[in-house]
Amino acid sequence: MIHHFQMNSLTTVEGVGNGTWRVITRYDDDLFSAELALEVKAPALDIRSARLDVKRDALNAARNLDQVAGKLLGVRVGPGMTKIVRGVVGGPQGSDRMAELVLESMEMLINAITVPEIRKAIEKAGVSLERNVGTSGIDLNDRVMGEKMVGLMSENPRLKDSCAAFRNISG
């Protein structure tokens, strides 16, 4: 069956030296295309540069976003960022769509920073998953974090009760 509509989005995170991360999110669908590029500096993880390009807008409905990128300078990736970004970029006079793009970019930076820790946890204390979920018969989850490691991680307030993995932890 042929699709009547298609949406693609790609976010990439790359360390570019001196504690700086470059995060690029590209969004494309039949009606709209845009790219957001952020540079974020550790250790504060504050946004040092921001560039936003609207490449296609079939309805000419996007607001003038010239000021949006500048408003992001100094905003930090971390606790409270959702409220701050929605306040600075979104709202009735701003662009909720752009706020979502910014937040997605920031979330992916957090994921990127988390990956090495999760990899270590699985390498040191991973368990075999009994159920092979692949309909192809190819197992994509030969080792995952078990109950003990999940219990330890759930002590992190950001993770506690955040999803099925970190709910109803006993002991």
Binding site: M1, I2, H3, H4, F5, Q6, M7, N8, S9, L10, T11, T12, V13, E14, G15, W21, D29, D30, L31, A58, L59, N60, A61, A62, R63, G94, S95, D96, R97, E100, M108, L109, N111, A112, T114, V115, I118, I122, V127, L129, R131, V133, G134, L140, N141, V144, M145, G146, E147, M149, V150, D161, S162, C163, A164, A165, F166, R167
Partner: protein, 149 residues
């Protein structure tokens, strides 16, 4: 070198005129998952949803698949996005919830795109503001999913 990347793709089909089928996939370093939703049109009710956690990080992640079935019978209205994030994301999987929201937004945008194409064929210099006002008045429940601004 690339440290992380997340790719999301969503496609929308029109089936038998009365249904829309939305399929989405998400892949990144940590997760791979897919979501398929059948929506009754124009009632905008989720008739069926199937999610699959393909690649994940904990042995508990699979539990999320059962949580998302709760969305069957839910309507695409102003409350849905919040319900997906709170009732499905927090009890199931936050990443799958994001993908499901993307599927709902794509469904709304696909209808707008389809009608826009048809209108432009009839009248290439269409008044887009009037077109949008007309679309919003016919489908008020979809407005928040369109994210035009």
């Amino acid at each position: 070198m690339l440290d992380y990347s997340r790719c999301k793709c969503v496609g929308v089909q029109v089936q038998d005129d009365g249904y829309r089928v939305v399929s989405g996939v998400l892949e990144d370093e940590l997760y791979a998952m897919q979501c398929e939703i059948v929506v009754n049109w124009p009632e905008l009710t989720i008739e069926k949803i199937r999610t699959r956690m393909k690649r994940f990080t904990t042995e508990r992640c699979l539990r999320a698949e059962d949580v998302f079935v709760k969305a069957e019978g839910w309507k695409l209205d102003s409350q849905l996005e919040g319900r997906i994030k709170k009732e499905l994301g927090r009890h199931g999987c936050r990443h799958m919830a994001i993908l499901m929201v993307d599927c709902c937004r794509s469904l709304a945008r696909s209808e707008l795109a389809r009608e826009l194409r048809a209108a432009l064929e009839k009248q290439p210099d269409i008044d887009t503001k009037q077109f949008l006002d007309d679309f919003f008045s016919r489908y008020p429940g979809l407005v928040q999913y369109l994210q035009l601004q």
